[in-house]
């Protein structure tokens, strides 16, 4: 893995925020990946000394403010997912790309479930299974991140 610096992390987060702010119309919003979460997770798993749980929390607050949802919802779920992601971070070198994809998939599903729970507590009605589409599109975005910024797993030798 190449070393990274803080500027790259923040620039990618800013781009992710821009993507999140992009006017998603109609059906597009169902398939929209959670840009901020994917980017945060990538840097969290790759460089935890630059992007840690605190960053995840701040990113969550930004998402809350941008989407206009209850302040702290995304922050809470992002923090918990970041913690779960960090707990296996040191072992990622041993994973092969498929394992890593499965791991990220699990993390994204957990985030969706947490958000769903919070939203249901808030009094919204059950949105149905299409609420989980962002997990699939998020995995695609994850692969794109790996293509752009390098793999987290050991390259085949």
């Amino acid at each position: 893995m190449r070393p990274t610096n803080l500027v790259v992390v923040y620039i990618t987060l800013l781009i992710a925020l821009l993507c999140q702010l992009f006017p998603w119309v109609g059906q597009g919003i169902i398939f929209r990946p959670d840009f901020m979460l994917i980017v945060t997770l990538y840097w969290l798993l790759r460089a935890p000394h630059l992007c840690n749980i605190g960053t995840a929390w701040i990113v969550g607050i930004l998402v809350d403010l941008a989407t206009g949802s209850l302040l702290g919802q995304h922050a809470l779920s992002f923090t918990l997912v970041a913690y779960m992601g960090l707990s296996y971070q040191r072992r990622l070198v041993l994973f092969n790309p498929w394992h890593l994809a499965g791991y990220v998939f699990a993390l994204l599903v957990i985030e969706r479930l947490l958000m769903l729970m919070l939203k249901l507590f808030e009094g919204n009605d059950n949105p149905g299974l299409h609420y989980f589409w962002p997990v699939i599109s998020g995995l695609l975005l994850w692969q794109l991140m790996i293509l752009l910024f390098g793999a987290l797993t050991r390259s085949k030798s």
């Binding site: 821009l18 992009f22 119309v25 169902i30 923090t79 009605d125």
Partner: protein, 347 residues
């Protein structure tokens, strides 16, 4: 001490060369607690709206950048749209405008006549709300909420609570105002309800949002006179939505023999997904509805109320009736108009 030994023995966690602050677990606990308390504050208290407003204002340039590509695409496609189509559209619009103008001429006379009749009967004069034209900049980013964001904000004198309509009917209500944009909650949102009237028989009721692009009219008996296809219009009782705007069409009536109430489902007539332009109506009644609490005494109080209301209301209302707010809000106050309203009440 013990913890340090434990950490050394743990094969997963190599001992850190440099101290990096608190452990991941304690950080997690801290930030979770922080976000939970933030949620509680945001849900129960109103301290954070300032913060939100500031942030949205700061985000505005970024939002403009994000919106730019789709705006360009729209402009370019507009630019290249066929000349022929433009001419046709122009022609039909002119025709429409002509028709509307003819109708408008009649409307003016009818309105004058209506005002005159109302003044003869000591009723109040319906107030023509002013409006601000806005454009939908995006539908809400949260798929749960039924919200659209428009490009008019407190800089354009938008206030929370104003009604929003499009060319077909009522869209919803402004719920949050930011400097350059504001959030409009649609009438289909679960949190909103809207006082309505059946256009055919003037039956009054309240429609509640169902969440899935539907409205529900609860608490009406099974034998109520509502048919599929009936149009619901605003009744104007709340002083927010002016009376007579189209709201929805009844699409389904379910009659459950076990329940004393009919389940009446209707779909809104406003087309959120098709249009961009909408009108934000002023709230003329909100201010004038205030003195309604005190005015049972007719002779003495008018002067101060007139002085207050005179700044906002048109001067012609001064002469006619000191109790000029719409009589529907407090029907008990003035008995005469009340009798005229009665026939409309549910039978």
């Amino acid at each position: 001490m013990l913890k340090g030994v434990h950490q050394k023995l743990d094969p997963q966690q190599t001992p850190a060369f440099f101290v990096r602050g608190a452990s991941a677990f304690s950080r997690t606990v801290f930030f979770c607690a922080l976000s939970i308390s933030l949620m509680a504050i945001d849900a129960r208290l109103n301290y954070l709206s300032q913060l939100r407003q500031g942030f949205i204002a700061a985000l505005h340039p970024l939002e403009m950048v994000a919106n730019a590509p789709s705006n360009w695409v729209r402009d370019v496609s507009h630019y290249f749209s066929a000349h022929n189509q433009m001419v046709q559209e122009n022609y039909s619009l002119k025709q429409q405008a002509f028709e509307h103008q003819v109708r408008l001429q009649r409307l003016n006379t009818v309105e004058a006549e209506n005002a005159h009749l109302r003044s003869l009967l000591n009723g109040d004069i319906p107030i023509q709300p002013k409006a601000v034209l806005g454009e939908i900049s995006h539908t809400g980013r949260d798929p749960f909420s039924r919200v659209v964001v428009i490009n008019r904000g407190s800089q354009h004198t938008i206030k929370a609570g104003q009604a929003v309509v499009d060319s077909k009917g009522v869209l919803g209500q402004v719920t949050r105002v930011f400097p350059f944009s504001s959030e409009v909650t649609l009438i289909t949102d679960k949190a909103l309800s809207i006082p309505i009237q059946i256009e055919r028989n003037q039956l009054r009721a309240i429609a509640f949002g169902e969440g899935n692009n539907k409205l529900d009219i609860p608490y009406l008996p099974t034998n109520v006179d509502i048919k599929v296809g009936d149009t619901l219009v605003t009744s104007g009782i709340d002083g927010i939505y002016p009376a007579g705007l189209a709201v929805a069409k009844v699409t389904q009536i379910l009659q459950d023999p076990d329940s004393p109430f009919a389940k009446i489902i209707s779909t809104p007539v406003a087309e959120v997904s098709n249009h961009l332009q909408l009108l934000v109506l002023d709230l003329p009644l909100a201010k004038e509805a205030l003195p309604i609490v005190s005015p049972p005494t007719t002779a003495k109080t008018p002067d101060p109320t007139i002085l207050k209301a005179g700044t906002t209301a048109s001067p012609s209302t001064k002469r006619r009736n000191p109790i000029q707010p719409n009589n529907v809000i407090a029907p008990a106050n003035n008995s005469q108009p009340n009798n005229k309203v009665k026939p409309n009440a549910p039978n």
